[in-house]
Structure formats: C-alpha cells, structure tokens
Amino acid sequence: MVAYILKRLAGLAFVFFLVSVVAFLLMHSTPGGPFDEPNMPLPPAAKANILRKYGLDQPLHIQYINYITNALRGDFGYSFSNPSETVAQIIGRTWPISITLGGITVIVALGSGIVIGILAAVRQNTIVDYVATFLATLGLTVPNFVIALWLILVFAVELQWLPIGGWGEDWRQIIMPMIALGLGPMGIAMRYTRASLVDVFTADYIRTARAKGLAERMVVMRHAVKNALIPIITVLGPRVPDLITGTIFVETMFRVPGLGKFFVESVLDRDYPMIMALTLLIAALWGIVYLLTDLLYTLIDPRVKLT
C-alpha cells in the first residue's frame, strides 16, 4: 500500500513537472507580452527596466529554473496585472469563495443525486423514474450558463424571489449559482446510481437477502447501495477539482468574486505568474483526486487490488 502510494506520487511529480514545462513554454510562445504597448504605453528604457525587474530579459530556461525554485519554496511571485498583490494573496482571497460555493454544490448535488438515483432505481419505470431521468438529462446536456440564465429570468427577474447576483451579503445569493453549477454533477450522480443499482438488483445475493425475509429497505440500503457505490465514485471523483476551482461561466453570470475569472483574465493579460500558479494548482488537484479515488476503491471493495 505504502509502496503503491509512493509510486503514484512519483508518477504525479513527473506529470507535474511536464505540465509546468509545457505551460511555461506555451505561455511564453504566445505572441504578446504582459507589458506590451496597448496595455502600458512606456518609453523603451522604462520598459527594459520593468522587464529586468521581473527577470523577463533572461533566457527562457533561466526564467523557468528561477520560477520553479521560487515556487518550490512557496513563492509564486507578484501578479503582473495587479502588482500590489502577490499571486498567493490573490488566490488566498478568491479561492475560498470558489471552494465554499463548489464545496456546498458538491455535497448537495451528490447527496441529492444519489438519493434521487436510488428512488428512481427502486421505482423503476414509474413517474418518479421519468421525472428524475428528465432532470438528469437536462443537467447533463444543457450548459451551466444556460441554466443560470433561466434561473435568473424566472427567480430573479420574473418572480423576484432571489437576488439576481452578488456574494456574501445575503445567504440566498448562493442558491442560484449552486443549482446552475450542481445540476450537471447531480445528473451524473443520479444516472450512475440508478444504472448501477438496477444492475446490482439482478445479483444473486439480493435474491438471497429478499428470500431470507429481509425488509426491502434493508435490502436496498445494506446490500444494494453499498455495492453500487464504486462506479459512482469513479465518475464523480474527477468532477470535484472542476467544481472547487470556480467555474467562470457561473461566477460571471451571478457576479461571484471567485477564482474562476482569473483563468481567463490571466491568459488575456499574459499574467505569467498567475497562469503558472493556476495551471499547477489544477494539475495538483487532479493528481490528488485521482489518487484518492483509487485509494477509496480499496476501502469500499476489498477485492480491488492496487498494483
């Protein structure tokens, strides 16, 4: 087990290194720099000074080595577009907002998705099943900014039940972004819970459990759901990093001041330190989530062996 984790971490470190190199090269090969004329009209001497200050006048490989050694010490540099703040400060200010929204969304969406999935599987081919399947399909196929717009039109503009956007002034501000963000993951959770439960229901041990007179509730909760969990974890694990790093579409629509907008702004502004930090953040989260997903298997299903 320990050997396996170490092996995986080593692999992760390698991918991490590759991602950092590729992102760095890609970023610098993109035409246009952070201090180009349209952004900051400067005399050439001043521009040269700025470039020297940020080390942008040095050869690329030196810049990379400087960046990585600083980053490994926890210093991600100053943001070019907001020079008064370090990258770490900006992320520290905005990421908690995205984590809050994303975290609540994950819990609510997965919880309700699994419960609805169980209901749909138990009441197969009834109205409950059809409504649940319709909701899931809607959440899965329709983009979240489309759902966001519908929510705004109905609940904020027409009915005026909920605030149209913003963050941190009113607890109701979280409801609409949460639904817009969560309907997709809920759909996935519901679909897979239903499919894998329907599959499990045909197994012999379920027939045995019923034959020995176990209450239906016990059959479902104790025997079926436990065994249906594995495919659900595989599919849902990888959704978590996306949700907790802030989704630009939903955050733009509801004016949530989270991390999401920096994914776009940093690229447009050629804000190199910010781009690198975000890329590494995402890569690290992905690696960790995949590792955790694999480890969770072994907890849920003792038959799974890690190699």
Partner: protein, 300 residues
C-alpha cells in the same frame, strides 16, 4: 461468466454460416427506428441541419432595424422574435447561430477522430515505446486545464471560426485516442484475433480487417456524443467573448451579450439558450439511441 462466453462464441460463428455479415447495421437501424425518443431527436437534428445548410437562403444577412441600435421585443415592428442588442433580426441570427454550432460540432469531431484514432491505433497496435509516448501525451493533455489550454491556442492562432475549431479539436482528440487504445487492448485478447494470428493472417490485415471494424461502433458512439460537447465548448468560449468573431453569429455569444439586457429584453437571453438546449438535447438523444442500437449488450 460461462454463459456469456458461450453466447459470444455462438454470435461469432453464426453470422458466417447463416447470415450475411452486413446485418449489424440493418439490425441497428431497426432497433434505432423503434426508439421513439431517438427518432424524435433525429427528426429535430435533421431540421437543424436543414436550417444550417440553407441559412443563407432562409435568412439573408444583414438585416438591421432602423435606427441601427433599435431594440425590438418579439412581435414588435414585424420582427417575429424581436432583435438583438444592435438591432439585428433575432430569428436570422438564431438560424445562423445554429449553422455555426453545427459546423463547429461536426468539424471538431472530424479532426479529433483523425488525430485520436491515428494515435490510439498506433498506441494500441504497435505498443511498446509508441504506447508509452502516446499515453504520456494523453496524460499531459488531461492534466492541463482545458479552458486555459483553449484560451492559449486561441490567443496564439487568433479568433475566428477555423481557429476555434482547431483549438477545441486539440482538446477533444484525447478521449477518442484513449477509447481507441482501450478497445484495441481488449480486442487483442479475444479468441478470434488469436485464431486469425494462429492461421497466419499478417498483422496489418488483422488490424485492418478485424480490429478496426470491431472498434468502430464505440468510436461512432463517442464521436456522436462528442458533437454536443464541442458545441458546448464553442458556446462557452463565445459566451466569454473569446470564440467566434463578429459578424458571424454564435448562440453562446448571444447569451453572453444578453446578460446586460436581462431585466428588460428577456428574449435576447431566452431564445439562444433555448436553442442551445434544443441542440444539445437532440444530439445527445440521437447519440444515446445509437449506443443502444449498436451495442445491444449495454441495453437493460
């Protein structure tokens, strides 16, 4: 387990003796036509394709309300669906938006299929260091945030429809590559491949005549279901104002622009979002129907 093995053996032998091998497609067509949801969706897709192909005839551009920024509600001044933020006929913009969506969806998947299938085939068939190399590239593309990557590409290539298609295709090939490779790995172990190898069929012929046709159905399904995903990505990029350039219409861009007018001109947001939802749902249902029809083992 043994029951499944016998069934496989029977289906593998049976067609050669009693039925022509083209039956897979006819069977699939029959199964598909019995699926009401998928057939309904197919009719809608057909209608959307019709609109896209004849967009220039049905909705000749440009058509501005006068004065040029006059915004009209649906039904007002002869504009059935109103106008957009700069006074263009909404109905015409929607039809051209559909065309953009379909062009992007289909071209992205075509490019992705070429790249993904080529790399996946070589990884799965040659194996060894080729496989190692391809899989590392796949991992790399998985680890880089997709939106960030697409933005990079667009800022390197510039906006415009072709570049947007290229940028999305360079993300979309990964899934197809992984699927092709996985298919080949599972097929390689099957008895009929072993049998072909045992009777001395050269390896390129095994790849071409046995592996590829068997790997084809999951690929068809993946490509069909990839079309709505690509359409979604384009809509997302254009929503942010980074995708399709003016004056080409894009449903995502229309949604993005609409948010400033949402309290008054509700139709500017509602209509394109309804259209996106319709496109996504109908393509997804056709894809699901294809999967059920082509792979009856999956059906419950």
């Amino acid at each position: 387990m043994s029951a499944i093995a016998t069934k496989d053996a029977v289906t593998a032998v049976d067609p050669i003796i009693s039925r022509p091998p083209s039956n897979l497609w006819r069977d699939a067509a029959i199964r598909f036509s019995k699926n009401k949801l998928a057939m309904g969706a197919l009719i809608i897709v057909g209608f959307l394709v019709f609109l896209a192909v004849f967009a220039d005839v049905l909705a000749p551009q440009p058509n501005f309300a006068r004065p040029i920024d006059a915004r009209k509600f649906p039904g007002e001044a002869g504009y059935i669906l109103g106008t957009d933020d700069v006074g263009r006929d909404m109905l015409k913009r929607l039809i051209h938006g559909i065309r953009t969506s379909l062009i992007v969806g289909v071209s992205v998947q075509a490019i992705a299929l070429v790249i993904g299938a080529a790399l996946g085939l070589s990884a799965g068939f040659i194996g060894g260091w080729v496989d190692f190399f391809v899989m590392r590239v796949v991992e790399l593309f998985t680890a880089i945030p997709q939106l960030l990557f697409a933005l990079f590409l667009i800022s390197i290539f510039g906006g415009g429809m072709f570049n947007v298609i290229l940028a999305i295709a360079l993300i979309a090939w990964v899934d197809i590559c992984r699927l092709t490779r996985a298919q080949l790995f599972s097929l390689r172990e099957k008895e009929f491949i072993e049998a072909a190898r045992a009777v001395g069929v050269p390896s390129w012929q095994i790849a071409w005549r046995h592996l590829l046709p068997n790997a084809l159905t999951p690929l068809i399904i993946a490509v069909t279901l990839g079309i709505p995903t690509a359409i979604f990505t384009e809509a997302g990029l254009s929503f942010l104002g980074l995708g399709i350039d003016e004056p080409t219409a894009s449903l995502g861009k229309m949604v993005g622009v609409s948010s400033a007018y949402i309290r008054v001109y509700w139709h500017m947001g509602l209509l394109p979002t309804l259209m996106i939802a319709l496109i996504m749902l109908s393509f997804s249902f056709v894809g699901d129907g294809l999967r059920d029809a082509l792979d009856p083992r999956l059906r419950k």
